[in-house]
């Protein structure tokens, strides 16, 4: 039998139901691996392979084991949920009672939430066992997970490279087999891009499909939770538990009944029209990424899908539009961190004003401050119309372009990112370079459409194979269709089965 950590969510769920192993054994196994990674991360000198990934920010073995034992009891009684006893990690942007929640920020060091995020509760109710909290860019602001106050996350495929962001801890932990699955959040690509960089599978559902209650807010009109795992089949299992209306807690949550996303995984995709936006495959797309994406598309064509050229003319504009809207909302969402009710409070303040200014200056990292400043500016008197309002109007045009595209195709496909994972520190002094790398994920985010990343092969441009993801974008509420396409691709390919060296 293969190692527990090589099993997928589906395989673990089956093994647990069959009593091949207990939830406690499984939990202990993953807690130990996580702890080892934390230890390795603590002393990061020496050769790459002695590095830890830096994925984990918090463990609570007691709580994890207690959850596992409860799961075993339910399994014994035959009352277990669909995912009973299967472990997962939560991006540290979701508030949890059993673990501290930091959102990757010094501002929230040691913060304990008096309640669980809706998504955390839903997955626990499905029987899942929480291994720990996973590193991410501070307040989910970043594309490389280099903006965490608790150190960067490293890419298991090349420890000198970034895992992508902002859900970098989730992606790296899954690739390194530290957890079989994890939650992530996607505001401008934060599930899809790290999934692509780490060679795993991740999906961001339609905006409003998963509750935002208990997600530390970055950009309210864009933030969306989603699952990350190695296979589309696993993502479907988690997503089925995560979606559903949260009428009592989230006013933007859609009143759409929960759905079994596993149902249609095996549907035929013969005749399915897959639109390829010409703006996604132009210059600016690295050759090795282009090659991998083309190969994956060729596979889909072999499976009977029909590739049709489409256009999303405003793709390039989605960068300024997103980087106006998201910081504007963030500048307001992060005002609650003022050192009064919770979070970091500066030691040496003289009056209220200095309490505010010092606490926030000390608590927030540089990228967060930069976005707060930008957001404050685009909302400030005299600039609102030219920036925020204009951006929200173009946002509608971008969303409309997608609706026009969906008249001639069922699903849209293309690269997730213009290049493979870059070196740690490569863009350290050039934030705009990170912004530019979001170009292919931002349009679907602005439109609130479901999007996912599926392993599509490996780019060879960097001298060693580095994962490349294929992005699939569906129309509103068409998550099942994306998962279906992804699953069929994974039936025909084995990219998702590859394992980083040394794991």
């Amino acid at each position: 039998m293969s190692h527990l950590h090589d099993l997928t969510v589906a395989e673990l769920a089956a093994g647990l139901k069959a009593k091949t192993f207990s939830a406690a054994e499984v939990a202990q196994h993953f807690v130990t691996r996580a702890q080892n990674d934390i230890n390795a991360t603590a002393h990061v000198q020496g050769a790459d392979n002695t590095f830890g990934t830096g994925s984990f920010l918090a463990l609570n073995p007691e709580a994890t084991l207690a959850q596992a034992h409860a799961a075993d009891a339910r399994l014994a009684a035959g009352t277990g949920g669909a995912l009973e006893g299967v472990p997962l990690g939560h991006k540290d942007i979701f508030v949890t009672q059993a673990f501290p929640t930091t959102a990757g920020s010094k501002m929230l060091t040691g913060y304990r939430s008096p309640f669980d995020a809706t998504v955390v509760r839903q997955l626990a109710e499905a029987g899942m066992v929480t291994v720990g909290k996973l590193n991410c860019d501070e307040f989910a602001m970043g594309s490389a997970n280099e903006n965490s106050a608790f150190g960067p996350v490293r890419n298991p495929w090349d420890m000198s490279r970034v895992p992508g962001g902002s859900s970098g801890g989730s992606a790296a932990a899954i690739a390194a087999r530290l957890v079989p699955a994890a939650t992530g959040t996607d505001t401008g690509g934060s599930i899809r891009q790290p999934a692509s960089f780490c060679g795993i599978t991740g999906i961001k559902p339609t905006y409003g499909r998963a509750s935002r209650y208990g997600m530390v807010a970055y950009a309210s009109s864009l933030d969306q939770a989603g699952p990350m795992a190695r296979t589309a089949e696993d993502c479907a299992l988690l997503l089925s538990a995560m979606c559903g209306p949260d009428l009592d807690r989230d006013s933007t949550s859609l009143d759409v009944p929960p759905e079994d996303f596993s149902r249609s995984l095996n549907n035929s995709i013969v005749g399915l029209r897959i639109g390829i936006p010409k703006e996604f495959i132009g210059e600016g797309l690295a050759a090795d990424v282009r090659t991998a994406v083309d190969a994956a598309l060729a596979e889909l064509a072999k499976l009977g899908a029909q590739l049709v050229p489409i256009s999303l003319p405003l793709t390039e504009l989605s960068i300024p539009v997103y980087y106006i809207i998201a910081p504007a909302e963030a500048s307001s969402n992060l005002s609650r961190f003022d050192g009064v009710k919770f979070g970091h409070r500066a030691k040496d303040f003289t009056d209220l004003e200095s309490l505010y200014k010092k606490s926030r200056a000390e608590g927030f990292g540089v990228e967060v401050k930069r976005r707060i400043m930008t957001g404050t500016y685009v909302l400030s008197h005299g600039y609102y119309d030219a920036y925020y309002l204009q951006a929200q109007k173009i946002r509608r045009m971008i969303a409309q372009d997608f609706q026009n595209a969906f008249k001639v195709c069922d699903v849209i496909a293309g690269p997730v990112a213009p290049k493979v994972a870059w070196k740690l520190g490569e863009n350290a002094n050039d934030p705009v370079a990170d912004y530019l790398a979001d170009i292919f994920t931002l349009p679907a985010s602005l439109a609130g459409l479901p999007g996912m990343s599926v392993p599509a092969g490996f780019g060879m441009g960097q001298g060693k194979p580095l994962p490349v993801g294929l992005q699939l974008i569906g129309n509103y509420l068409k998550e099942a269709q994306l998962l279906n396409v992804a699953h069929r691709l994974q039936q025909a390919t084995d990219f998702h089965l590859h394992k980083p060296e040394g794991v």
């Binding site: 508030v95 950009a219 009109s221 006013s251 933007t252 609650r336 919770f342 404050t376 609102y384």
Partner: protein, 498 residues
Amino acid sequence: MSSKLVQGYEVVIGFETHTQLSTQSKIFSRASVAFGAEPNTQACAVDMALPGTLPVMNQAAVERAIQFGLAVNAHVAERSIFARKNYFYPDLPKGYQISQFEIPVVQGGEVSFYLVEGKETVRKTVRLVRAHLEEDAGKSIHEDAALGGGGQSGIDLNRAGTPLLEIVTEPDMRSSDEAVAYAKELHKIVTWIGICDGNMQEGSFRCDANVSVRKPGAPLGTRREIKNLNSFKFMQQAIDFEVRWQIEELEDGRAIQQATVLFDPDTGETRAMRTKEDSADYRYFPDPDLPPLVIDRDWVARVKGSMTELPRVMAQRFVTYYALPEYDATTLTQSKGMAAYFEATAKACNQPKLASNWIMGEVSRLLNAGDMGIENAPVSAAQLAALIGRIHDGTISNNAAKEVFEALWTASGDLVAETGALSLVDTIIEAKGLKQMNDTGALEAIIDEVLAAHPKNVEEFKAGNAKALNGLVGPIMKVSKGKANPAQVNALLMKKLG
């Protein structure tokens, strides 16, 4: 509006009133709004803006906004937007207040009231700009010196998230009298329709007055905003002081600086608040956590159908249906209780004007004397009606009725309880022997007796001196111990002397 000049200056006043809506739970959370709980025990995770929390709108707050809109003939917006007003303050947990900015739920409308100017009462109308829904802030406690070892303020967020309707007027008021009259009328409306408990001490009804002065015909002067006026008395004092102060400044050649000021009841003066830095730029934008508030017309219609008759409508009905003067109608509709008492009395005795006179007269006098509300009046509407009935059918004179009324007012509870209104009144009339003498025979006897005793008056009268009659009526009433019916006495005298 007519304008009275103060030292040659015209006073211009506009109001912003924060009314706390009488809901059970907060506007965006399920915490209680009850007043006076232990600090922060009624501030839930949402009210404290804990990370991950989101607002969910309270239907009852919207319903009250609709009621208000209908009460002041305003437009209830089909679609209104919640926006974030961004600024930092310790009692503002999220660092922004959820309010309405560009598109408020209530648009336009007006408030009319009567104002006594010299001898006549004039009708004033103040136009409303808007009324919008928003959340209240928490409270800062500065008084407790021991707090946290001294030099600290304490923040209590129990009030944070209490639903508010902010009602904004045009600068239509021209004197502190008008301003206070407007505030009283507004207070009456919101309490009458039951959307606000009106408790000013507890801050349920807080007024900000924007005051400026100008030479007649000149453009509007720079205004100063007097914050948190929570009593009508202070309102008048504060505005009067502020007006005098502004005029002095201008007369001394100093320009008025726009400012927010507070009224100090102890000194009777207003003083500028320490201005919040950057308060100028609130960076309003639509709250992405709250989709547009859509109010369909059926809902408005349902609310309209379920609303109680408004004071001004009721007053109009009193004028047309009971033929009361405007003044009576308005006075009787100052409170629901008063109006109900009047209607019950008027219906029972069929003498609306008499009922009105008695309620505005004796009843109000004794209520004020006993400092009680009409709800606790010892004399029921039925009893007052019975009494009025007895005046009308000539059983007793108006003066005698006042005696009976006093007796009723002080009558012991059980006596009142076990006797019907009419028989109770009659019992008292009997007991006090106040019944008018309507027996012609007996009266004629008395008259003849008096005529015989006053031949001089009789002659003078016959000689054409009408006044001489009084010399006869007086003694007759005296002999009859006041029970003679004056009208009847006159009639008989004429007969005998004519």
